[in-house]
């Protein structure tokens, strides 16, 4: 497979959220606000990139019998680094992500990519795979969070900068939010619709390719 394919497959074709259905817990949990989605996506991208590179580098050193504990130690170390750095330098994101931040350790995407890709491929391909999957995960979270926050709260929450408060109010919807969208049933409902759309799109593309 080409380097370009390794980089782009995670965005649509093998999107971790909508196609592979990995990392559902943080996906449903943190997507109540766009800022949380960006924070979680960025954190997962960093941990995924670092762990994929490290696991690929050590793939010939780590014996098969201890690969899972070794991967967990590597992933947990990078998650702890992200936690400490966010706590020290971006405390607002650290506070917003709360319990989901340490839970990145058991995020299926990270362990899944380590097991399915990084321990069998070169460092460059593993890094490209991590970037693609990380971007795919981040974009998926942003898409879900945008829809949930716009309809559920009538606003989009980004990060406060200078005079910008970080909150963009959506006219009309701000006064009449559909509260269920910010709650768990709204997340599941939206996830179902988006999954159906991605399935439809994948099937349509496969049909087109079969015809050609």
């Amino acid at each position: 497979m080409s380097h370009k394919y390794e980089l782009t497959k995670g965005i649509f074709k093998e999107n971790p959220v909508f196609i592979i259905m990995l990392g559902m817990c943080p996906t449903l949990g943190v997507t109540t606000q766009v800022s949380n989605a960006i924070g979680m996506g960025g954190s997962v991208l960093f941990v995924l990139l670092c762990s994929n590179i490290m696991i690929s580098l050590l793939r010939k050193v780590i014996p098969d019998s201890i690969r899972i504990p070794a991967y967990i130690v590597i992933i947990a170390s990078f998650v702890t680094i992200v936690e400490m750095v966010l706590h020290a330098f971006v405390p607002s994101v650290f506070d917003a992500l709360g319990v989901y931040l340490p839970l990145i350790v058991v995020n299926c995407i990270i362990l899944g990519r380590a097991e399915a890709f990084a321990n069998k491929n070169t460092v460059l391909d593993s890094a490209l795979d991590a970037i693609g999957m990380g971007i795919g995960f981040t974009l998926s979270l942003i898409l879900i969070a945008s829809i949930r926050e716009v309809f559920g709260a009538g606003q989009i929450t980004l990060f406060a900068m200078g005079n910008f408060s970080g909150v963009i109010k959506i006219p009309v919807l701000n006064g009449y939010p559909i509260r269920i969208m910010t709650l768990a049933p709204g997340a599941l409902l939206l996830m179902g619709f988006l999954k159906a759309f991605f399935e439809f799109n994948t099937a349509r593309k496969a049909k087109k390719e079969a015809k050609v």
Binding site: V30, P63, I81, A88, D95, G98, V99, T182
Partner: protein
């Protein structure tokens, strides 16, 4: 046997390298984290002091009240107290600071460290959340259940009943404690 030693050595080395890396990062970030916590605490105390002068910190009850700070007015007379309270919400332990008048009526409160769910229990950090409890205590009981709230307030805390219950119990404990102090 030889294989076991080899495998154990590899795992040990990975763990040792990870520990070393974490120690270095901790060394860099720990002072900044401590400074952030200190700034946040000072900001929170100032925010809940309701314009009164913040006095000296003293030990709490050894249970869910970490510390007590006296509040004095312009003529150095005791006006109330700030308490740091502990509670257990949906995401685990949390701390909040709350100020009361001498009779145990809540003046203001602010959620501090917590692991509540973003978008649900995390709403307890927002300023409007504590408005549900402000001015209550002593003769007017603090709301302990969602049924004690107006329909608008109950709808605002829907999906986070455990957090609401934990916050109200913590604030109620503080109110009872301050009332029992009797202005001492």
């Amino acid at each position: 046997m030889k294989n076991y030693i080899k495998v154990a050595t590899i795992l040990f080395l990975i763990c040792a390298c990870a520990s070393l890396l974490l120690a270095v990062i901790n060394n860099i970030t720990a002072p900044q984290i401590a400074a952030n916590i200190q700034i946040n605490t000072e900001k929170a105390l100032s925010a809940v002091s309701s314009g009164f002068t913040i006095g000296e910190k003293r030990e709490g009850d050894g249970g869910n009240i970490n510390y007590v700070i006296s509040l004095t007015d312009g003529s150095a007379k005791l006006a109330g107290y700030i308490l740091e309270l502990k509670g257990a919400g949906y995401g685990g332990a949390f701390t909040l600071v709350a100020s009361y008048d001498k009779a145990g009526v809540l003046l203001d409160a602010k959620m501090m460290g917590n692991s509540e769910t973003p978008g649900l229990g995390k709403k307890s950090e927002e300023a409007w959340y504590m408005q549900m409890f402000k001015g209550k205590g002593d003769a007017t009981p603090l709301p302990l259940k969602k049924s004690d709230l107006s329909s608008e307030q109950a709808s605002a805390v829907s999906g986070a009943s455990v957090t609401f219950g934990a916050v109200s119990r913590a604030l109620n404990l503080g109110s009872t404690y301050v009332n029992a102090l009797g202005g001492k």
